[in-house]
């Protein structure tokens, strides 16, 4: 009953939600929430395939690395956001349209 497709469906939903957040929001932090969702959907996919198809732990490792990368990404990204806010006093995404200011 609970099969691979269930997990894929959940993963699919998460992905869609992430994309929607990334496009709909104008707030950089909110967009980063979307990125987290997308990353999690991918990680879940890996874990699910690892369980149902390959039957080994490679997928788990991949998920683990994704978590690590997500953590790093969040740290740096949020640092940039804070810096950006210090300079511009805003976190509106459209204000970050110039390479140098």
């Amino acid at each position: 009953m609970i099969s691979l497709s269930s997990y894929l469906f959940i993963s699919f939903t998460l992905f869609i939600a992430g994309i929607a957040v990334m496009i709909a929001r104008k707030n950089i932090i909110a967009m980063m929430l979307g990125i987290e969702l997308i990353l999690n959907s991918a990680a879940l996919n890996f874990a699910a395939y690892s369980r149902f198809v390959n039957n080994n732990l490679e997928g788990h490792l991949m998920s683990l690395f994704i978590i690590v990368i997500a953590a790093a990404e969040a740290a740096v990204g949020l640092a940039i956001v804070i810096r950006f806010f210090q300079i511009k006093e805003t976190i509106h995404i459209d204000d970050a349209a110039q390479l140098q200011s």
Binding site: A17, I29, E36, I67, A72, A79
Partner: protein, 175 residues
């Protein structure tokens, strides 16, 4: 039975959380909802026997990333004024009708695309007999320091770099 219950609960939590992130009008709420969604994913990991993964998910995401997000949200609040010297709102709105329409359209396109890809795969997929669960912690540990030691080390360097980089970038500068 327990497995099924856990699965459904987790799946519900995940999807509801994700939907909340999409539709919430408050950034703080969105963060908390994301936390819920991540908890749900941890639950899903548990249902496929990935105990180590579930634990990591809880610790790193729930304990680290989301807290970080909350910090960022608070730090970017600043003074009571809602708009900066350019007249732009500091914490911008969570989207307008226009953006939602665009997002919806994009999502539709992507959904069809992914479904097209998945359809082919699903046709050929046959569920087989699954092995019993066993603890994965030891095995993952072994793999990390044998076959995947390079990736492991690189990720540690990445984390170090991210740590230093975040500190350097966020540091306030004179002038």
């Amino acid at each position: 039975m327990f497995e099924n219950t856990l699965f459904f609960l987790s799946a519900t939590l995940t999807i509801v959380g994700a939907a909340g992130v999409v539709f919430s009008k408050n950034l703080m709420h969105a963060c908390v909802l994301l936390l819920g969604s991540l908890f749900g994913i941890a639950g899903l990991y548990a249902t496929i026997g990935a105990d180590f993964l579930a634990a990591s998910q809880l610790v790193i995401y729930a304990g680290g990333v989301v807290i970080l997000m909350l910090f960022a949200v608070m730090l970017t609040g600043g003074s009571a004024d809602s708009s900066n010297k350019f007249g732009i709102e500091k914490i911008p709105g969570m989207g307008s009708t226009k953006t939602y329409v665009i997002a919806g359209f994009s999502v539709l396109v992507i959904s069809f695309t992914i479904l097209k890809l998945m359809a082919n795969f699903m046709k050929s997929y046959k569920a087989g007999e699954l092995p019993a669960f066993s603890s994965t912690v030891e095995e993952i540990g072994t793999l990390l320091v044998t076959d995947h030691v390079l990736a492991f080390e690189i990720s540690s360097i990445l984390l170090l770099g991210a740590l230093v980089g975040a500190a350097v970038i966020a540091r306030p500068r004179k002038g």
